[in-house]
């Protein structure tokens, strides 16, 4: 067993190809991975307050795949920033596995909306960054990096700098950099927005495979409602700014899901329509607020 495999035990590997054990729907609800308790967040733009989040109550269950959708500017990224401990709420509290988040939360892996790659590091050296911070070096580091470069389909681009890559490629480097660290919780902010349809499908499959093999909790923010329904156990609809939880919908589509076919399931259509209606009201209202 190679060192890569050992590192990946519990995680998916493209190479093994073994069928993932089916994991059906909801996760065990013992405790919570992340809790937003009466969370509000206000920014100041000069002297005018901007209420990004009005009042959010939300429990993210251990091991679940949670999709978050909502109109632009409703505070989705802000929610993830709060969970990652990059900012503190104006009111209420954010808890991670029961502990109050007051500083940077190093237990999560955060794929931010902006790709935030280190511009002077090559693709492989960007992916190696979390490993270097953990003090990992030598062959083991190289093997892990090579594995994840391949996983996100960037073989041959290892020595390229971010400025030499397309937007979608940069996103994939960001994904690899997040995954290589094997975090127990993944925060993903529109990770696949810049990808073409085929690549997106592949990435969906890969994300689900990784999630099904590991016990990771994933919070997945997206503009694309279909993507959220496709992947998630539950989808949260956030209202227009100031953001509130408008609807939480259990996605009772069977697992493992075939991402290419699940769209044609009649249940998918019903779920989509119900969520779309909830989202639609707010998208219109969000526009009026501008």
């Amino acid at each position: 067993m190679s060192q890569v495999d050992r590192h990946l035990s519990g995680q998916a590997s493209l190479a093994t190809g073994a069928a993932p054990p089916a994991r059906l729907g909801g996760a065990p609800s013992a405790g919570a991975t992340i809790e937003f308790v009466g969370v509000a967040k206000r920014f100041w733009k000069g002297d005018t307050p901007v209420d990004a989040i009005g009042h959010v109550e939300l429990v993210v269950r251990p091991g679940e795949f949670l999709g978050i959708v909502g109109p632009s500017g409703c505070g989705k990224s802000t929610l993830l920033n709060l969970a990652a401990g990059l900012m503190l709420p104006t009111a209420g509290e954010v808890r991670y596995q029961g502990h109050l988040v007051r500083d940077v939360n190093t237990r999560v892996g955060y794929m931010t909306q902006k790709d935030s790659l280190v511009p002077w590091r090559t693709v492989e050296s960007n992916i190696a960054l979390p490993l270097e911070i953990r003090g990992l070096r030598g062959r083991r580091k190289r093997e892990l990096v090579a594995h994840y470069v391949e996983l996100v389909g960037l073989k041959g681009f290892e020595r390229h700098f971010p400025s030499e890559l397309s937007g979608g490629m940069r996103k994939r480097v960001g994904l690899a950099r997040t995954l290589v660290n094997d975090p127990e919780t993944l925060l993903m902010d529109e990770p696949f927005g810049a990808l073409d349809a085929q690549l997106r499908l592949l990435m969906h499959e890969e994300t689900l495979r990784i999630w099904e093999h590991s016990r990771k909790t994933i919070i997945f923010v997206t503009h694309d409602l279909a993507e959220a329904v496709l992947l998630a156990d539950r989808v949260v609809v956030i209202s227009a700014r100031p953001g509130r939880v408008k609807l939480i919908k259990d996605i009772d589509l069977p697992r493992p899901r075939d991402v290419a076919r699940v769209r044609f399931d009649p249940r998918f259509g019903r779920l989509f329509e119900e969520l779309w209606a909830a989202l639609g009201e707010d998208v219109r209202r969000g526009d009026e607020n501008r």
């Binding site: 990652a84 990059l86 940077v104 939360n105 190093t106 999560v108 892996g109 955060y110 931010t112 902006k114 935030s116 280190v118 511009p119 002077w120 590091r121 090559t122 960054l129 979390p130 270097e132 911070i133 953990r134 700098f161 971010p162 400025s163 030499e164 660290n181």
Partner: protein, 293 residues
């Protein structure tokens, strides 16, 4: 943009490096035409100059290409026959002066860069301290550095020390200011990224803050290299008995226009070569900035 920039300072923002030759679409023909036109143009200027010196203007003022060539030859080689000239190039005399100027320039560059990087980084990271003394820095920065040369000669004598200090001072301010801004303008998103990966303070510095400031340091050094030569030469012109600056000023003092031009030609060759080298180094070090369009 930071408020520190309200006063116009020659901060070289780290811009995209020149695209590498390999990427540039081939333009061999156009390049050749350009080259030929340039050669013809330079030739024409020399001919007009020579003609003017013989017929129109007293060579006392403008010398002449022939005379400058003769002076250059006398400066650079020993002996009369072409063979002797070739064997004796460059003359020990020229090497002596060049070495002196180079030494001042390199040491000025090294000391100025070291001091500028360290002080710029510290003040850039220590916000309060930086804000506190920012006006003082801008005041000193706005002072024409040339005005400091006599003071340095007074303090450090007419030997090599005063020239090194002068050159280093000029370099210091250029590098310092770039580093100062670079250390302040670190991308917070990148810092957040590594902090989530569990980086401690030292790792945040070494993985993000220092490399990001270093790109600004490079930009400052890039700007400072030609100025370090200026510093050395100007200080030599004020008080010295050796170096390129001395060659220029001593020829001028003897009303030897041809000698002045000859020394200027040497200075030009030196500075063009140095800038070429710096450009090379920059495109290697800042390869990641290459933006393909």
């Amino acid at each position: 943009m930071s408020r520190a920039l309200e006063v116009e300072l020659p901060v070289e923002r780290p811009g995209p490096a020149a695209p590498s030759l390999a990427e540039r679409p081939s333009k061999g023909r156009r390049g050749l035409v350009l080259l030929l036109t340039r050669v013809v143009l330079v030739g024409a200027i020399l001919v007009v100059w020579q003609y003017a010196a013989e017929r129109l203007i007293d060579p006392f003022w403008i010398s002449s290409p022939a005379e400058v060539w003769a002076r250059l030859r006398k400066l650079a080689v020993v002996g009369d026959s072409p063979w002797e000239a070739l064997v004796n190039f460059p003359s020990t005399d020229l090497v002596f002066h060049l070495r002196y100027t180079f030494q001042e320039m390199i040491l000025g560059l090294v000391y100025g860069t070291l001091a500028g990087t360290v002080v710029g980084f510290v003040l850039g990271r220590a916000r309060f301290l930086g804000d506190l003394i920012n006006p003082l820095i801008i005041a000193i920065y706005s002072l024409p550095k040339l005005a400091l040369a006599p003071l340095f000669i007074l303090w450090f004598g007419i030997g090599i020390e005063s020239k090194i200090v002068f050159s280093a001072t000029i370099v210091f301010f250029l590098v310092f200011y770039n580093t100062f801004i670079g250390a302040r303008e670190v991308d917070q998103d990148l810092v957040d990224v590594v902090r989530i990966f569990g980086a401690n303070r030292f790792q945040v510095l070494s993985a993000i803050v220092v490399p990001s400031a270093l790109t600004w340091v490079f930009a400052g050094v890039r700007l400072a290299v030609p100025y370090s030569l200026v510093g050395a030469v100007v200080a030599e012109m004020m008080a010295s008995n050796r170096g390129l600056g001395f060659l220029i000023s001593s020829a001028a003092n003897q009303f030897d226009t041809g000698g002045v031009f000859a020394a200027l030609v040497v200075l030009m060759i030196v500075s063009v070569s140095i800038n070429g080298l710096v450009g090379r180094g920059e495109s290697v070090l800042l390869r990641w900035k290459v933006v393909s369009r």
